[in-house]
Point group: C2
Chain length 215, copies 2
């Protein structure tokens, strides 16, 4: 498959690198072609990896991944021209964190979420929200956390979620540990977990942790 990944930060690079290691072709997209981090990445991973603008990546991919910050996701996707890609699967792994003078908070939460904002702004996309509840090292290698632990996902389109489940399994997530929380409004519950993540991280002092739903 061909993937277009928006965002050249740690999350975008980790996902892009994993996809390449699985034999997929990946274009890492940023505001402008020639982004330093994206160029370095594409040179590092070899011929399956390319870099380009957000629009280049959108055109390249059969599947798109939004790994930009939640505050800038809408403008990045606008720049990518995804409104003209009806039916496209967009995997949204963004989180809504923002740091202000008074500390850390969410740019949207409670009765709305980044996942919903994206689905509303681009109603023809098939948005699936997932992966943002763990560090990027865990996203692409869940076995760094010992034992069973849960990956949440949600979205309005059942077939899109099935595709997502296949990708999660390629990443190493057993199907029985992937929990579909329903339509895209579940993004609210999923995105808010970043605040808990930060507090738990202070306690466990490792990036390699996750939550497991036990019942």
């Amino acid at each position: 498959m061909r993937f277009g990944v928006f965002g050249t930060g740690e999350v975008g690079q980790a996902l892009a690198t994993k996809l390449v290691s699985l034999g997929h072709e990946v274009m890492l997209g940023s505001r402008q072609r020639g982004n330093e981090k994206a160029v370095a990445w594409s040179q590092r991973v070899g011929e399956l990896g390319r870099e380009g603008s957000f629009a280049d990546a959108a055109q390249f991919g059969d599947i798109l991944i939004n790994a930009t910050g939640g505050q800038v996701s809408l403008s990045a996707l606008q720049a990518a021209g995804v409104a003209d890609l009806p039916g496209m699967l967009l995997i949204d792994v963004s989180n809504p964190l923002q740091w202000t003078e008074s500390g850390v908070g969410l740019c949207v939460c409670n009765t709305d979420s980044v996942g919903e904002q994206i689905q509303r702004a681009f109603p023809k996309l098939r948005v699936v929200k997932t992966l943002c509840t763990v560090n990027n090292q865990v996203m692409v290698n869940p076995s760094v956390v010992p034992g069973q632990h849960t990956m949440f996902l949600c979205g309005n389109d059942a077939a899109a979620k099935q595709q997502m489940l296949s990708i999660l399994q390629e990443f190493g997530w057993p199907a029985e540990n992937c929990m579909d929380l329903g339509d895209i409004t579940a993004s609210r519950a999923i995105e808010m977990l970043i605040l808990l993540w930060l507090k738990v991280y202070d306690v466990v002092d490792t990036l390699h942790f996750n939550l497991h739903v036990v019942h």
Copy 2:
């Protein structure tokens, strides 16, 4: 010990009943003495259980538990006169859920929480936030969920959290499964979990579930 429990709903009754079963004296407090549910409860549990007004329960208890709804907690505690109880441990198990025409949401979240509102309004109380992340049956009998799973707590006072840990252990929570997330600002992360709880409940179809921090 003597406990004053504010709130006669399922959560208040479950906690009060458990405390009585452990041999503690409990007064279940409500807006007015003679509350029907509180009277029925006190008759059911026998001589260790009493009922009274919020103020009666506040005077009765060595330790107080707020099991009122997050939207009305401040007014309940005001009515209880807890401002005049310096140093008192208040265990806040409230959640900020509110149902509106547009669905379910939180009455406070993100950069504030009910736990913090209470601590600010009554700075001489020692507030500990905990237990609100599971159903009341799990609160008082964690073994209904199989295996290891996590109870979060937070608060500004270390000794108060130690007292809380003892109570959690009386309830059946192993110390190694209780995670102190820091000061009372961690209430934000803890209280927000109710939205995830609702979504997971839709999937697992049992009240007997919880999250476990795996690392």
